[in-house]
Amino acid sequence: MKKSYQSLEVNSTNNMKQVIYRNLTSKILYLGFILLFTFSTSLIAQEGDAANGKSLFNANCAACHKLDRDMTGPMLRNVEARLAEEEGLDRAWINAWIKNSAGLIKSGDTYANKVYNEWNQTAMTAFPQLSDQDISDILAYTAQPKPEPVVVNGGGGEVVSKEPGVGNNLILGALVVLFGLLALALILVRRTLNRFAEAKGLEVVKEKGTPIWKAFIQNQFLVLVSAIFLLLASGYFVYGYLMQVGVDQGYEPVQPIHYSHRIHAGDNAIDCKYCHSSARVSKHSGIPSLNICMNCHKAIANVAPETLAEGKEYGVDYDAEIQKLYDAVGWDGTGYTGESKPVKWIRIHNLPDFAYFNHSQHVSVAGVECQTCHGPVEEMEIMYQHAPLTMGWCINCHRETNVKVKDNEYYTKIHEELSKKYGVDQLTAAQMGGLECGKCHY
């Protein structure tokens, strides 16, 4: 929402005069308001300041109400006018409702009881701290006409996302043309040179020597050296190929719902363990159940316009992906329909069945950062396997990582004894038995 106003402002900076004049008028307006404030508060209570109303609305009401969509509570665009027209209710009723809805319901007010029952008897929180002035500000904000930012944002987003693509294509095309011209020029040069030779009566003599492959076979030393070289090179490549069988580093499957770790863990800095909570306490770092998504996405049905524009760079419509989540979890915008279907996530990190790995042991006990093994997840638009997950990789980390023994009573005694045994100051995981076969294979 906010961005749309900003982009409007950016657009309007082209005609600077208007902006300046508008600022001036608004400043005069503010001055006027302040003057009015000092003389008559009742007049102000009628008017209401929409800007202040917006911040109050966002702080107090937006948890349950949206302007144009029913959420936990009804949508509130033009609520004052609608209540006055449809129910004949005035500002006094609204004030009473906002400050203590439960009291109004108990007093037997007809419409209060009707709304309460229509919304499944969800009690609205009382807001005794809001003054009449605050409420009129909020109502002024809700009375603002609905902005139509779609066209502006759509246009702006496309321009932003298209520019780099067009630029890249242009550069590539230019390079292709350049190389084509170069090749053509070389051919032409060769042809003209030949023609010169012909014109001057020079015969281009082709010596009839031994063909190069015969000469090669005759030189036995060269044959030996190149045979050794070939054997070594092919050995190298065959070894490399065989060693990467079963290693899935870089594995990046297409998931049924496009989930961007970049947005969630990066931009919004949500802790890994918020969703993967079982990594703290269990062998598995579980795939989050969909109700964890819904903790936030009950309120977030559409992404911000700037996020949507970012999505175009990756060829993803984030709003459509959120809709996929709603379909899977059975959410119709205000409540659960009860018709859910499982999402077939594709598992990326697979250890072979004969290797044991426990997340809680690494996350909670050792305090290893998730990124140590999973890489820069907060930058990944599409999740991929960062580490090779081979035994050599595990062992290497166990050899290099010092055990965090500080302030850990469990390790105090064993640390002292083992340090004495190995004659070291800091113990690595390997020295505490992190290389024993039976730790991971049994």
């Binding site: 069988v245 290693v247 870089g250 594995y251 919004n268 964890i292």
Partner: protein, 206 residues
Amino acid sequence: MHINMKTSLKYSLALVILVGFVSCQKNSRPNYQYMPNMYESVGYEAYQESDAFANGIEAQLPAEGTIPRGDFMPYEIENTNAGYDYAKANLTNPLADPIPLDIVDSIKVDPNTPRVDYSVGGPLYSIYCGICHGAKGDGKGKLVQREKILGVPSYDDAGRAITTGSIYHVIYYGKNTMGSYANQLNEHERWQVVAYVEKLKADLEK
């Protein structure tokens, strides 16, 4: 000329094979394995698809009435307005109580050993709550600042006047836009977080 044709044919063949090898390496599908039956579990793996169950999912709900092993107490207050009011008025933090006598006898501790530990509740709070409610509990978490989620109240909100019981009840069931955190935090962790939230509330009211 003849040889040239042949060598060029050979080169192009080698190139085709090379390109073939390279293009086979695709990141969207898993690599080959030497002995798949040593890699893949015979037993059911977590989240696996399986024909053994009617809906084809390995992860089944426990039978109705199942309780977890260990120190478990069912939460019997219902998720209704009346339940909320009851919890708000009556529920207290068991971690603030003295340790029950039978446990004191078995592990030989002082019954008044404090069990509320902010070093447990604090980190859990910052993982699960702070993202919206803010590190100080003032309702200005990262998601609120970025205007992703709006209307998160401060813990010292007068209209809500949260109490020990209401905090626990809301963590357990969720309320309005806030979801339930019963599956991310176990009973002990929930009470630790409740204690931490109360500390934040007290700090805000100072």
